[in-house]
């Protein structure tokens, strides 16, 4: 499934002038973004600023209205005259891992089966091999002992860690994390952040939408601030969070301090 290896500092995700409209409402108004291989790109911004929509555009859960995008070697154009077949879309998504705010684990499958499902059904990996990999991934997120447990018996933090393992099982070129700690009780946030921190150390390319500013400061390679469907400022975590220039970003961060 994996194609040509990329150079270590290669651009893994390249988004150009991406827009997404719902009727007359433009939720994403022309966003461009470069994410290098192994980088954790954070996206912050107020609720409703379009950051989640933007993220969902990257794995085509929302179909962008115009613009273009490249993930690894796969380039896509959006807009009139550019329609992807269902098979092309599915193939593209299989290379992009997605973790949702509400986990969305498959309730009729155990933790292990949830993690095996993608490789077995989509990639046609042999069951034994998929099981082996899934067990390793569950161990990695600290849930080896929960392999035969159904999602309804998992805490929010555990469920989200299984969901991360499920996305990793597809060996994606990039992971998209959509406010993955926002639905968790405060005491469960830490265990999920710990898994994400570990992924950044391992050099997983990630685009992370979050409200966890302290976490962003700690692990983000780059941060962009989105407001009203546009990227208003971008830079290193330090630049953006400690020396914000844009007044909207300044007032946004002030609300977080208080």
């Amino acid at each position: 499934m994996m194609s040509e290896p990329l150079a270590a500092d290669a651009v893994m995700v390249e988004v150009k002038d991406l827009t997404k409209s719902y009727g007359n409402v433009e939720a994403v108004k022309g966003v461009s973004l470069l994410v290098r291989r192994g980088e954790a790109q954070f996206v912050i911004g107020p609720s409703g600023c379009g950051k989640s929509t933007f993220l969902r555009c990257i794995n085509l859960l929302e179909e962008p209205s115009s613009g273009s995008m490249r993930v690894g070697e796969t380039a896509i154009e959006f807009g009139r005259g550019h329609r992807m077949s269902a098979r092309e879309q599915a193939r593209f998504r299989s290379n992009v891992g997605m973790v949702f705010q509400q986990f969305h684990l498959f309730p009729h499958m155990t933790a292990l089966q949830n993690v095996m499902e993608g490789p077995v059904t989509v990639k046609r990996v042999a069951r034994a091999q998929a099981r082996h990999q899934a067990e390793a991934l569950l161990a990695k997120v600290g849930l080896a002992d929960k392999r035969d447990v159904y999602p309804r018996h998992l805490s929010g933090g555990q469920a989200q860690r299984v969901a991360i393992a499920r996305a990793l099982a597809m060996q994606p070129r990039v992971m998209l994390l959509d406010e993955v700690t926002s639905a968790l009780d405060p005491e469960l946030v830490g265990e999920v952040l710990e898994v994400i921190r570990q992924l950044t150390f391992e050099g997983m390319t990630m685009i992370v939408v979050t409200h966890e500013m302290a976490f962003a400061r700690e692990v983000a390679a780059r941060v962009v601030f989105m407001d009203a469907g546009l990227i208003l400022e971008e830079g290193s975590a330090e630049e953006l969070l400690d020396r914000p220039r844009n007044p909207r970003l300044q007032s946004f961060l002030r609300r977080f301090r208080n």
């Binding site: 794995n59 859960l61 269902a86 098979r87 599915a90 193939r91 593209f92 998504r93 299989s94 290379n95 992009v96 891992g97 997605m98 949702f100 509400q102 969305h104 684990l105 498959f106 309730p107 009729h108 499902e117 993608g118 059904t121 989509v122 159904y150 309804r152 969901a163 499920r166 996305a167 597809m170």
Partner: protein, 219 residues
């Protein structure tokens, strides 16, 4: 009020009862199965984005859910042969109404069952790179089926009781057998009471099954 009950007359025509029971069961099973298949197909069309195909199906489902079954049966029996100018056999005409009725309700159960699955499940399946067929087979149907089984069993119970309406077009089912016996013996109280007991004996186990399925808690 003096009324001397005499239940012995109920057992006057054992052969007729046996035949009535067989006819009722055959119609119930055949029209339920055919209706389920029809409902499955219609439900899938209703869920698809083919509006050209889906709108007539929606019309059919709404129409059959909103009109009395008795009229449907009578209409198929008497009016359909006139309308299509074909002499379809009486047994088929009678069964057609029941089948379309079951089909309409099944289509709605099927559609509602699929729609009841959380949007997040579809998104998670899609995000893994599943094709629509894989998504249905691996993620949506296994969850939806469990939710659809109790309403399907309930609808089948109703369907078996509804076969009693076939007696108005002289299909010799349990009800028809009873009605004939009433006109012979002038003992409607005993015979209808016995009929109720017959239907109860057939349907009580099914009801229990539906209850068990509702209480099942493996998801």
């Amino acid at each position: 009020m003096e009324y001397s009950w005499d239940f012995s007359i109920v057992f006057l025509r054992p052969g007729n009862w046996a035949r009535g029971f067989a006819v009722t069961m055959v119609y119930a099973v055949a029209t339920t199965v055919a209706g389920l298949v029809l409902g499955l197909v219609c439900g899938m069309v209703m869920l698809s984005r083919h509006t050209i195909l889906a709108s007539p199906i929606h019309g059919y489902v709404q129409f059959f859910r909103s009109t009395p079954l008795l009229i449907q049966i009578v209409w198929f029996y008497y009016a359909l042969p006139v309308v299509i100018g074909l002499n379809i056999p009486a047994w088929l005409a009678a069964g057609l109404g029941l089948t379309l009725y079951m089909g309409a309700f099944s289509a709605e159960i099927f559609r509602a069952g699929i729609m009841s699955i959380d949007k997040g499940q579809w998104q998670a399946a899609r995000a893994l790179g599943m094709m629509p067929v894989q998504m249905m087979r691996r993620i949506i149907l296994p969850q939806a089926t469990r939710r659809m089984v109790p309403p399907f069993v309930n609808q089948s119970v109703l369907q078996l009781k509804n076969t009693s309406l076939l007696s108005v077009v002289a299909v010799p089912d349990l009800m028809y057998t009873g009605t004939l016996l009433v006109s012979e013996t002038f003992r409607p109280l005993e015979i209808y009471t016995a009929l109720a007991v017959f239907y109860f004996i057939i349907l009580y186990p099914l009801q229990r099954l539906a209850k068990l399925l509702e209480q099942r808690d493996d998801v």
